[in-house]
Amino acid sequence: MSNRKDNEFDVIIVGGGITGAGTARDCALRGLNVLLIERHDIATGATGRNHGLLHSGARYAVTDRESATECIEENMILRRIARHCVDETDGFFITLPEDDLAYQTKFVESCTAAGIRAEIIDPKEAIRLEPSVNPDLIGAVRVPDGSVDPFRLCAANMLDAKLHGAKILVYHEVIEFIKEGDTVRGVRVRDNRSREIKDFYAPVTVNAAGIWGHHVAALAGANIGMFPAKGALLIFAHRVNSIVINRCRKPANADILVPGDTVCVIGTTSTKVPFEECDNMYVTPDEVDLLLTEGAKLAPALATTRILRAYAGVRPLVSADNDPSGRNISRGIVCLDHETRDGIKGFVSITGGKLMTYRLMGEQAADLVCKKLNINKKCETAVLPLPGSEGGKTEEVSKKIWSVPSAPQKAAAGRAGTRAKVIPLDNPLDQALVCECEEVSSGEVRYALDHLEVDNLVDLRRRTRVGMGTCQGGLCACRAAGMIAEARGCAEKAEADLKGFLNERWKGMYPIAWGNTLREAEYTQWVYNYVLGLNEQ
């Protein structure tokens, strides 16, 4: 393979979400020469727009046994391979006075049958363990739910793929498939920044584009009946609960509250949306009202807790019936060999599924790719830890790197795990904080700019959490933009980025801008549009 051209690969993966990242990692670990292309940045679709729930599978135990079993198996795997992305919180399924307590019995039986530990606990004990829970609860079941940082998980998979030779091209979009007869030979892509057109070749192309996979498949001449189901969520400024809280009833709106880092997230709604809207998800006042009303039933404190932002994602469900809400469609994995299904050779789609089952999706896709390439290599993603998660408890990682870690060093280790050792954080200049809310230091920002394929401020936020805290970028956005300008020597682009970043933050803020969020918004408006005069630029 040494005389292969640099635009030839064993496999091309389309989509830089968690599914694409997991597939790329799996293929790269099996020794394949991998190219991953993503039209925006990593984790810009549903990957970055969900609860960050490490499902135990209990939610699906009654209605979808297959998904439930997949979830609990993957849950246990992620605790081992992605420990720096996972928070082992446990979860409650609570029964409120208006719910049917009889459902609890069925729920526990179904969990047990699916291999999910489900333990009925006394409501008083539930309140003692999770003081934020609605004190009116009449029943509680404890299950092994947790939380997972999807950005970190996606980035770690990408990084491992890269460490095993994969090439990753962000801001590259497939514009057509290069076909010979009924065989896909590769893809023609456009660099969305330079507008340059490039061709890449591989015997197999994997469509892992989430809801946009519908469009990608159509480009190749295949039809996947997808069902774009919008889910809206709210992030609160405090970690109100320390244990995931769910409702013990059939899955419905706004019935999961997940703690993550210093915040918590309530969601979701479920509404079918047209494909045209998938690129521009916004949250309506009605959705906010519904999320708050239902959320306060799980934890009454939510009614008075500051909301940081509202956001929405689109689940890449595959249509199975005429259910208008999408709630009853299976969350199961759909791995399509378009050769047998549609007569298109060299083309595979991996879709359906969920964040929790991304690794298994990657495994199934990689198995199919290997079969097509006649390669007999076993999947190793379930046993090899992701970069950052090798050995040791997360809390101890910073002490192994620095004998007396400072607050910014601890924060970096919390995000990057053992990979924090490669981030320059030894001198005071590197430790100077860019983002106070999230304790992101200059060293982390510089490292991300130099090594993590950051094009703009929003990309930087996905990799470092800059601007994700209480002030939503009020101060740090300008600092980080200045650092980008210096690192890249292009102030003009950095200034345009800063405007883009502020608009992106505002998009999530205005649906919930009242109280302190409105105060923050007024302040940010005056600083950027008056003191700095950014609106004039």
Binding site: Y282, P285, D289, L292, S406, A407, P408, P428, L429, Q431, A432, L433, V434, E436, E439, S441, S442, L475, C478, R479, A481, G482, M483, A485, E486, A491, E492, A494, E495, K499, L502, N503, R505, W506, K507, Y510, A513, W514, G515, L518, R519, A521, E522, Y523, Q525, W526, V527, Y528, N529, Y530, V531, L532, G533, L534, N535, E536, Q537
Partner: protein
């Protein structure tokens, strides 16, 4: 405790009203909860973002405070404002009857009316063209973006060189990851400025302008002019990310001048409730002092940031008197999805009579006046009239009382 006038709020409007009333011989007190808009000042005051601010009054909505005052009185108050500051020891730059421009930290020019002493006021856009500029920052200081400043100036035909100073005096600050902020640096610079001036002088080549961040003169207002005397080029001090060092110093200077005139400044205190009846305010209850009575009261509590107005999911309200608030019905109409477009919520505030008496359920309080950004109908960010409204309405209310 009894006063002639009790002023709620120690920002620009409250202090201006206090100074004007003390000069008239009234016995006044100001309750100040702490931070106010001077803490994120641009270093310049805006009257109205129009070439001819007085001529443009006729175009304003009838709710706008200037429309109520009228162009003629606006001129009088505008001139009075500059005089009042001068008597408080602050020589503002600019002609109170006209507009000029200030240089923003992005290197943009924004219309300004009067500026704080160290902030340059340019007569026109041409004054910023074609200069050779040395921009000097302090190592590790992220809140002064030299790249953006240089970009903006280069677009205006200037050539820029950026240098960074490493001062041993700042090493201690640098040891703490969150200490490199304007006010902390300014405290160091109160003593270290001589050294900075010397270093700047030695860095200077053929540049005719030097730009420094606004981190000088927190304690001693004369430091910026002393630096100017040392460096053989025109020295400009350009804004940083908040807090604003010139703004904070100005607030302290105004407070001292107010106290020198016999005013009572209740720092760090807060009005918790008010006793009202028969369309009059009888007294207010503060956290530290308790009941304070007065003949007249001025509501100068600012807008959202200073908590002069607040909001819940569906309403914007005035928390102290439940005064009427000018606002749009329904949260959906409060915002524009584009951050850089004018935002409706920024124009909300207290409704008053044309003489700034506060309305509650349509009925004015006989002895409660509103001044500054608590007032509704200003659109002060879009119109660039925030400081102007604070000064002018405070002077107008003081005259009425």
């Amino acid at each position: 405790m009894e006063f002639d006038v009790m002023i709620i709020g120690g920002g620009l409007a409250g202090l201006t009203a206090g100074l004007a009333l003390q000069e008239k011989g009234k016995r006044t007190a100001i309750v100040s909860a702490g931070q106010n808009a001077l803490h994120f000042s641009s270093g310049a005051f805006g009257l109205l973002d129009r070439e001819d601010p007085f001529g443009a009054v006729a175009e304003l909505d009838e709710d706008h405070p200037y429309a109520r005052i009228g162009a003629d009185s606006l001129r009088t108050f505008a001139e009075k404002a500059k005089g009042l500051f001068a008597r408080a020891g602050i020589e503002l730059n600019g002609n109170p009857l006209g507009n000029g421009f200030r240089l923003t930290p992005q290197g943009a020019l924004k219309r300004a009316w009067l500026t704080l002493p160290e902030v340059d006021l340019f007569p026109d856009e041409a004054a910023v063209k074609g200069h050779k500029v040395l921009i000097v920052n302090l190592l590790g200081y992220l809140d002064f973006n030299t790249s953006f400043l240089a970009l903006g100036l280069e677009k205006k035909g200037c050539t820029c060189r950026v240098e960074t100073l490493r001062l041993p005096e700042m090493e201690r600050l640098r040891q703490n990851p969150s200490e490199m902020r304007s006010v902390n640096i300014a405290r160091v610079m109160d003593n270290a400025w001589v050294k900075v001036a010397g270093e700047v002088k030695s860095l200077l080549k053929d540049e005719d302008w030097v730009i420094l961040p606004q981190v000088f003169g927190l304690r001693d207002a004369t430091v910026p002019s002393q630096i100017r005397e040392t460096v053989p080029a025109r020295v400009l001090f350009v804004g940083t990310m908040p807090p604003s060092v010139p703004g904070m110093r100005t607030q302290m200077q105004l407070k001292r001048a107010y106290e020198a005139l016999g005013g009572t400044f209740l720092m760090g205190d807060e009005v918790l409730s008010a006793e009202t009846g028969e369309a009059r305010v009888r007294s207010v209850e503060t956290r530290n002092i308790g009941r304070i009575g007065a003949k007249d009261f001025i509501l100068a509590t600012g807008s959202y940031f200073s908590k002069g107005i607040a909001s819940d999911m569906n309403h914007v309200y005035e928390p102290l008197f439940a005064a009427d608030v000018i606002q749009d019905e329904g949260r959906g109409s409060w915002y524009d999805p584009n951050f850089f477009n004018p935002q409706s919520f920024l124009s909300y505030g207290v409704a008053t009579t044309p003489g700034f008496k506060v309305l509650k359920e349509g009925v004015p309080f006989e002895n409660l006046y509103a001044a500054g950004s608590v007032l509704g109908g200003c659109r002060s960010l879009a119109l660039g009239c925030g400081a102007g409204v604070a000064l002018v309405t405070a002077l107008s209310v003081a005259e009425t009382i």
